[in-house]
C-alpha cells in the first residue's frame, strides 16, 4: 500500500512537471479532467484496499479517496472536473440501477413480503416521527427553523424529516456485491431499500408540497406537484417496462456484446428521461426487475455481465460521491449532525427490530436488520438539492445540515451493515 501511495504521489508530481507544457485543446473534455479522473480511480482502488485490510467495506475507502482528493480537502480534483465527468457518474448510476432491479427476485419478495412491508412501514413512520420531534426540539439551533412558527415550522420540519427518511440502494448493492452475501438479512435489506425508493419519492413529494404551500408558495401548485410526481413515478414504471421489453428482445434474438448493449441502453435512457419526464434510476430498476422476473428469457448472462462491471462502476460512483462531499460546510454544525444522525439511527434500530420481531423473521434479521437501513447516499443528496433549488430561502440552510447527516450515514452505514452481515453469518467471502 505504501508503494502504491508513493506511486500516486509521483504521478501527481509528474503532472506538476508537465504543467508548463500545457497545450489547450478545444472541442474535447478538459485533458486535465481526464488525467485527474485516472488519479481518482487509482487512489480509490488503493484506499479501497486499505479499507479492506482494516476490515472495513471497500466503498468506505473509495469515499475517503474521493473526499481526500476532492475540493474539500486536497483540492487535487476540483469541482469543475467533477462536472466534466458527470456523464461517467450517470453511467455508473444507470448500471447499478439495472443490476439492482435484476437482483430483486420475485420469489424472495413473495416469501418475505410481509416482513419487507412491515419493516418499511415501521421504519418510515418511526424515522419521520423521531426526526420531526428532534428537529422541533432543536429548532433554536437549526437555522432553517429559527424564523418559522406554527404551520410553517411543522411542515418545514416534516420536509427535513422526509428527506432523511431515504435509504441507499447504491450502498446496499455495493456491499452485497463486495461481500457476496445472500442470506435472509441481505435479501430483506435489498427488498426494503428498493421498494422504499418508490415510496419515499411519494412521501417526499407530499411533504415538499405542504412545506411549499405553508411558506406562501403557490398553494394551488401543491396537488399539481403531487400529480406531476405521481405521473413521473408511473411514467418511470412504464418506461422501465419498455426498456425491459427491449432488453428481453435483445436477449432473445441477439444475445451478444451484452456489456456494450447495456451501456447503450443506459445512455439512451439517460438521454430520454428528461424529455419524457421519467425518473432515470427508477426506470432502469424496473427494467432490470422485469427482465429477471417476468421476461420469458434467461437473464443470467446479463446479470453476470453487470456483476463483472459492478466493481469499476462502484469505484467510479463512490469516489465521485466522496469528492462531491463538502465537509467544511458542515463542520460548524457538526454536533447537530451527530445528534440528528444518532436519533435517526435509534429510530431505525427500534422500528426495524420491532417489525422483524413482529413478522417472526430469522434471528439475524431481528438483531441486525437495522444495520442495512442506516446508509444514505445519492437519492437523499438528490432530494436535498431539489429542496435547495426550489425553496431557496429555507432550502439552502437546510441543505448544509442535510448533507452533513447524509455524509455521516454514508460513512458509518456501510461499516455497520458489513458488521451486521458478518454477525448474521452471511458473509462467505472475505
Amino acid at each position: 500500500v505504501i508503494r502504491r501511495l508513493v506511486v500516486l504521489m509521483l504521478l501527481v508530481g509528474g503532472a506538476v512537471l508537465l504543467e508548463p507544457l500545457r497545450a489547450p485543446t478545444e472541442g474535447v473534455i478538459a485533458p486535465r479532467s481526464l488525467f485527474l479522473f485516472g488519479i481518482l480511480l487509482l487512489t480509490a482502488d488503493t484506499f479501497g484496499a486499505i479499507a479492506h485490510d482494516l476490515g472495513l467495506p471497500r466503498l468506505v475507502g473509495y469515499l475517503v479517496a474521493g473526499l481526500a482528493l476532492g475540493p474539500s480537502v486536497a483540492g487535487i480534483v476540483p469541482a469543475g472536473v467533477l462536472e466534466d465527468l458527470g456523464m461517467m457518474k450517470r453511467l455508473a448510476v444507470g448500471l447499478i440501477g439495472l443490476l439492482a432491479g435484476a437482483e430483486l427476485r420475485m420469489s424472495d419478495l413473495r416469501q418475505r413480503h410481509r416482513l419487507i412491508l412491515l419493516v418499511l412501514a415501521f421504519q418510515t413512520v418511526a424515522v419521520l416521527v423521531v426526526l420531526l420531534v428532534t428537529s422541533l426540539l432543536l429548532r433554536e439551533w437549526l437555522p432553517f427553523l429559527q424564523p418559522l412558527s406554527d404551520n410553517r415550522l411543522f411542515f418545514v420540519a416534516l420536509l427535513f424529516a422526509a428527506v432523511l427518511t431515504v435509504n441507499s440502494p447504491m450502498v446496499t448493492l455495493a456491499l452485497l456485491t463486495e461481500t457476496r452475501a445472500s442470506g435472509p438479512l441481505a435479501k430483506t435489506t435489498l427488498g426494503v431499500v428498493l421498494v422504499a425508493d418508490v415510496i419515499i419519492i411519494l412521501l417526499f413529494t407530499g411533504a415538499f408540497s405542504l412545506a411549499q404551500a405553508s411558506l406562501g408558495g403557490t398553494t394551488a401548485g401543491a396537488p399539481e406537484i403531487l400529480l406531476r410526481l405521481l405521473a413521473e413515478v408511473l411514467g418511470s414504471i412504464l418506461a422501465g417496462t419498455v426498456i425491459g421489453g427491449v432488453l428481453t428482445l435483445y436477449l432473445r434474438f441477439v444475445k451478444r456484446e451484452l456489456v456494450v448493449f447495456a451501456v447503450v441502453v443506459v445512455f439512451a435512457t439517460a438521454a430520454a428521461a428528461p424529455a419524457l419526464h421519467f425518473e432515470f434510476l427508477l426506470s432502469l430498476l424496473v427494467a432490470g426487475f422485469l427482465v429477471e422476473n417476468v421476461a420469458p428469457v434467461r437473464a443470467e448472462p446479463l446479470v453476470e455481465v453487470l456483476h463483472q462491471a459492478a466493481v469499476p462502476v462502484f469505484v467510479i460512483f463512490f469516489a465521485m460521491a466522496g469528492a462531491d462531499l463538502h465537509i467544511q460546510e458542515f463542520a460548524a454544525v457538526g454536533p447537530l449532525v451527530v445528534v440528528i444522525a444518532l436519533a435517526r439511527m435509534a429510530a431505525v434500530w427500534g422500528s426495524t427490530t420491532y417489525a422483524a420481531h413482529l413478522a417472526s423473521a430469522e434471528l439475524g434479521v431481528v438483531r441486525y436488520g437495522w444495520t442495512g437501513l442506516v446508509s444514505q447516499a445519492g437519492v437523499a443528496l438528490g432530494l436535498a438539492t431539489i429542496v435547495a433549488d426550489r425553496l431557496p430561502g429555507v432550502g439552502l440552510a437546510m441543505q448544509t445540515l442535510t448533507i452533513g447527516v447524509i455524509a455521516f450515514n454514508e460513512s458509518i452505514g456501510p461499516i455497520l451493515f458489513r458488521r451486521g452481515l458478518e454477525k448474521a453469518g452471511e458473509i462467505t467471502v472475505q
Binding site: 508537465l18 507544457l21 488525467f35 456484446e257 445512455f267 419524457l276
Partner: protein, 421 residues
Amino acid sequence: MGAIMQTTLAALAVIAVGYILAYLVFDRLRDRFGYVGGAEYVVIGFLLGPRITGLLGAEQVQDLTPIVSLALGWLGMLLGTYFRLPTMARIHASHLRIAFSEALATFGSALITLLAVFHYLLGYPWPEATVQAVTLAAVATLSSSAAIDAVTRKAGQLSALYPVLQLTARIDALVGVAAFGLLLSVYHLGQVSLEVRPPTATEWAVINLAVGVASGVLFHLFLGPRGHLQEAEGESRLFVALAGAIVVASGASYYLNLSPIYTNLVLGFILANSGSAHRDVTRLLLRTERPVYLALLIFAGAAWSPSSPELLFVAPLFVVVRLSARFLGGWVAGSLVAPPELKTPGLGRALLAQGGIAVALAVNYTQVRPDLNADLILTATLVSVLLFDIVASREAGAVVARNGTPGQQSNDPAVVEPLPQ
C-alpha cells in the same frame, strides 16, 4: 412537451429499428463472408448521434471522452503487450524481415500516393498535406489478424503461413501507431507556457516516449507482485487499476496534444516485459478488447458527420490507395523478401482487415486535430474499415488455401506466443 415526447420516442424507434436491421444485414454478411467487424455499432452510433436522432448530442459526445480515451489507450496498450522480448527473440529472422518489409513498403507507397493527392490534387500546402497523408498512410498500413484468426479457427488447424501473417499484422500496427505518434510530435499543435521555450520536434518526440515509459514504470510499481490478483474480485480490481493507468497516461497525452495510443503502446510494452503480472494484464486486455472496440465504433459513429464529396470521392480514393499499397507491400515482402518456403506474392490479400486500431487512430486525429479535415479522415477510415472487414476473411482464406499448408499443425513454437489461458 408533446412534441418533444414524440420526437424522443421517434428517435428511440429509429434507433431500435435501425439497430435490428443493421444487425440482420451484418449477421448475414457474417454467415456468408465470415465478416469479422462490428459495423452495426457504427450504425447505432450514427443513429444516436447529432446527424440523425440527436439523442447523443455534440455535448454528450464530448462528455464521453473519458470512455473514448480509455478505449484508445486500451487498444494501444494491448498492442504494446504483444511485443514481449523473450518471445520476440525466438522469432525467425526471415519472419521479421517479411513483416517489416511488408509494413514499410505498404506505408511508404501509401504515403507517397496520399502526399501527391493532398498536395497536387487537393492543393494543400506541404505541412498540411503531410499531416493528413501520414495519418491516412498509417491507417492504410494497419492490419488486423482477426480475419486470419477466423480462418484458422474455421479450419481448426494452423498453417505455416499463420505465424507470419499474425506477426505482420502486429508489425503493421506498430509502424502505423509509431508513425502517427511521431507525426503528432513533429507537427505539434498548441502553445506552451510563456516561461518555457517551446520544445523542438525531437524534444516532443522524446517527451512523448518519456510519458509512456514513466507511466509504464510507475504502473509496474503500482501493480506490484502478482499475489493480490489472486484474491476474489482480483480481475475486477485489476480492471480498475488498468483503467486508471490508461486514463492517466491518455490524459497526460491529451494534455500535451500527443497520441494516447502511442503512449499506451509504450506502457503496454513495459508491462509485458516487466513484473509477473503481465499474463493477467494481457489476458484481461484480450478479454475486454471486443467490447472496447465496439464502444469505440459507437463513438466513431456518433461523431461521424460525412459530407457528400468525402463519401463519393475521398473515401473511395482512399480505399483504392490502401488496396494498391497493401498489394504492393504484400508483393514486396512475399516475393522479394520471403524465403522460398514462404513465398506468397498475394500476402497483402490476407491482411486486408483493418480492425480497431485504425478506428482508434482516426478518432484520435479528430480529437487532436479538429482544425484539419477531421471529418474527412474519419469518413475515409470508417468506410475503409467497414468495406475491408467484409471481404477480409474470404480473401485471407483464399491466400492461406493457396499458399499455406492447411491441415498441418505448425511446429514452430517460436513464432506465436500462446495466448494466456
